[in-house]
């Protein structure tokens, strides 16, 4: 499978199809080829009718993810139960360290997200190490860089720089998404690679890998999870025929 750069997070409102259409049109105009959509509202499964409708609307390769914002371990336990053999990408975002550790250990969780500026400050080497063992993905976002105030922007650059380098040093799988709220902040992933390289000090080859190869690995992880439903040596028989 050869795909070009990915935008790994774009928030859309699934109740408002015009919003999706407008955002997809702009992404197409920018030349984005692969996009991972995330519902704004608290949907836990994306209906297949919407998926096919979105698929017909655009030439972009669309993938889906669900992001859970959790406050405590009990909440995590209660809500993660619905995601056994989940067919899309599942990400967890939490300020609570216990939740982060559980998410990093749980094979159902594909991404532990540190996109939010408050959340990014809670990232620890312990969580990174657990994620590395579980082969899950660590997510950062460049959205905090798109602020007007110079002082805040500078602070955000510093925080992102610090934690991205902590992750890179430990060689954990990581993805850097745009996650922009305003459509005028949308940028092509190639532009984001340049920002990562020049302003966040990520080597160019590594930055390209983060935007190109890592999302493919993430999708393969999801695919593998679905294929693992049937134990090896067990064959599906339908109407007497071996499939």
């Amino acid at each position: 499978m050869f795909l070009s750069y990915f935008e790994s997070r774009l928030l859309v409102n699934f109740d408002n199809f015009n919003d999706i259409k407008n955002k997809l049109e702009l992404c197409e105009k920018l030349g984005i080829k692969n996009l991972i959509l995330e519902p704004e509202n608290k949907i836990i499964t994306i209906p297949s009718e919407i998926k096919s409708k979105v698929g017909l609307e655009t030439k972009i390769n669309i993938f889906y993810r669900i992001n859970l914002r959790l406050n405590n371990p009990e909440d995590f336990k209660r809500r993660i139960r619905h995601f056994n053999n989940f067919s899309d990408i599942l990400s967890i975002e939490s300020l609570n360290k216990e939740v982060q550790l559980r998410a990093a250990r749980d094979s159902r969780v594909d991404i532990v997200s540190f996109s939010n500026l408050e959340v990014i400050k809670t990232l620890t080497p312990g969580v990174i190490s657990l994620m590395k063992q579980n082969n899950s993905f660590l997510e950062f976002s460049l959205a905090p860089l798109m602020v007007k105030n110079k002082a805040n922007q500078s602070k955000n650059f510093r925080n992102l720089y610090r934690y991205i380098h902590l992750a890179l040093k430990s060689k954990v799988n990581c993805i850097i998404s745009g996650n922009f709220a305003d459509i005028y902040d949308f940028r092509h992933p190639r532009a984001l690679i340049s920002i990562c390289h020049t302003l966040l000090g990520i080597p160019l080859d590594r930055a390209k890998k983060i935007y190109k190869l890592n999302p493919i690995l993430l999708l393969e992880r999801v695919k593998k999870r679905l294929n693992n439903k049937i134990e090896p040596e067990v064959k599906l028989i339908k109407g007497g025929e071996i499939l």
Binding site: G31, Y184, A191, S194, I195, T198, L199
Partner: protein, 87 residues
């Protein structure tokens, strides 16, 4: 105020100064070869060593004269002739 060649260049330089400072700005050799606002594209010439810098600076421009804009890279090339033929 509308988007003009001057205002665009001013914003790009402002972005270069803001994010990269004098040390990078003097290496760029920025030149706006063409700007076609009807078809929404422009051609910028810069030193090949500062390609990433200029792409970052362009990406971080968010508005020009109060108009929200997106400056996104379409194609990079080693020669002006090939970039003109790619239009």
């Amino acid at each position: 105020m509308n988007l003009t060649q001057n205002s665009l260049l001013k914003s790009i330089w402002h972005s270069i100064w803001r994010y990269f400072g004098l040390k990078e700005a003097n290496k760029i050799g920025l030149w706006l070869i063409e700007l076609n606002l009807d078809e929404d594209y422009g051609i910028i010439r810069c030193s090949h060593q500062t390609k990433e810098t200029i792409i970052s600076a362009l990406s971080l421009v968010r508005e020009i004269n109060g108009i929200k804009v997106i400056l996104s890279p379409l194609k990079t090339s080693g020669t002006i002739r090939s970039i003109k033929s790619a239009k």
